[in-house]
Symmetry: C2
Subunit: 207 residues, 2 copies
């Protein structure tokens, strides 16, 4: 039987990946040690570099190597619109529709009280300040003109809807228009897996 602490440690570490169970972890470990040791070392290095270098964009909260990500730096974008999504994957789906040229705020999660994820954990306070900065806070008006519309593009699941509702409530008094993707997106599904045409339509019909 294959044995040894290194192998066990590797299988356990692989088993922590989402969607990987005990048998998959064993297969991955055997595969890499047998057929792809170079790939294993590359993966090790990629993991270390990613953990070292990737932090959150100061403006939109997505994962980024720079303090401000390329999307937020892009001068061509319509800075009066801010689209709120749950994950970078959702943001990527929005981008692929090519129907939106505004900015983003990535929650990196959704409200889920049962899992202990409240407004604090998904940075809602940061979002509110991003939309309407506190009076007196230092602000370069040329850099960040006021957001006029917030488009809520959280998933159409129970938690996503709840998150959208809480954000809408929090933005009520801040003098911005708050819209939600039209319900062309099938209820109960996740944005990442919806076809592009549906997302594009939902974007046009936002209410």
């Amino acid at each position: 039987m294959a044995e040894g602490k290194s192998l066990q440690a590797l299988q356990q570490a692989l088993g922590r990946l989402p969607g990987v169970g005990v048998k998959s972890a064993a297969r991955m470990a055997f595969h890499m040690l047998q057929h792809d040791r170079a790939g294993a070392l590359r993966l090790a290095q990629a993991l270390q570099e990613a953990v070292e270098r990737i932090c959150h964009c100061q403006l939109c909260n997505t994962l980024s190597e720079q303090p401000v990500c390329a999307t937020c730096q892009d001068g061509q974008r319509d800075r009066s619109k801010l689209c709120v999504v749950e994950t970078p994957a959702d943001q990527a789906a929005m981008e692929r529709t090519q129907a939106y040229r505004g900015l983003y705020f990535v929650l990196m999660g959704k409200l889920s009280p049962l899992d202990g994820i409240g407004p604090q954990e998904i940075g809602l306070q940061r979002l509110f300040e991003r939309v309407a900065p506190r009076q007196g806070a230092e602000q370069d008006p040329a850099e960040r003109p006021a957001v006029q519309e917030v488009i809520l593009a959280t998933n159409f699941t129970a938690e996503g809807e709840a998150t959208a509702h809480v954000i809408a409530q929090g933005l009520k008094s801040r003098g911005v228009q708050v819209t939600r993707l039209a319900r062309g997106v099938p209820v109960g599904s996740e944005l990442e897996y919806v076809d592009l045409g549906t997302i594009a339509h939902a974007l046009l019909d936002r209410r």
Copy 2:
């Protein structure tokens, strides 16, 4: 959109794992960077250590940290029997039946000419020498008494059967008994996923 070379490199490296596609790789990368950076670093370290330390057992060819694995070193085992399996996972399945106390030879693969895997790649020559060492080769008789029976426990798939056939042919002239697991194991299935009782039965009925 989440971006940066580190993230791309990480997703590509994860995508090389067996059974992981583009979307799974992205989910894994986001999950680790968002929720489990400690786990990511542990995985990086485990990969490096495993690649550095794990080699093949000189006797049975399985993955091992020592030159000779613990199973081959075990003095309690019946050294006159040698069970040939395809992978360490198959060996583990054999071990769990507790119906076999002999030694193993792990091919770490199977004959598969279409994939360019021939007798050389799965170390058949090493197996033949392990069973009946060349005359004149240095040999400590106390350490390695002659193998009297080779039990072919390759999978009951087309490639596994072909591999068993080739091994049986190769051992014909070497004066050892060659047996095959009884066909109690369902045809077309892989050993790793068969229930223990079936494997134990097949072991008793070997022909």
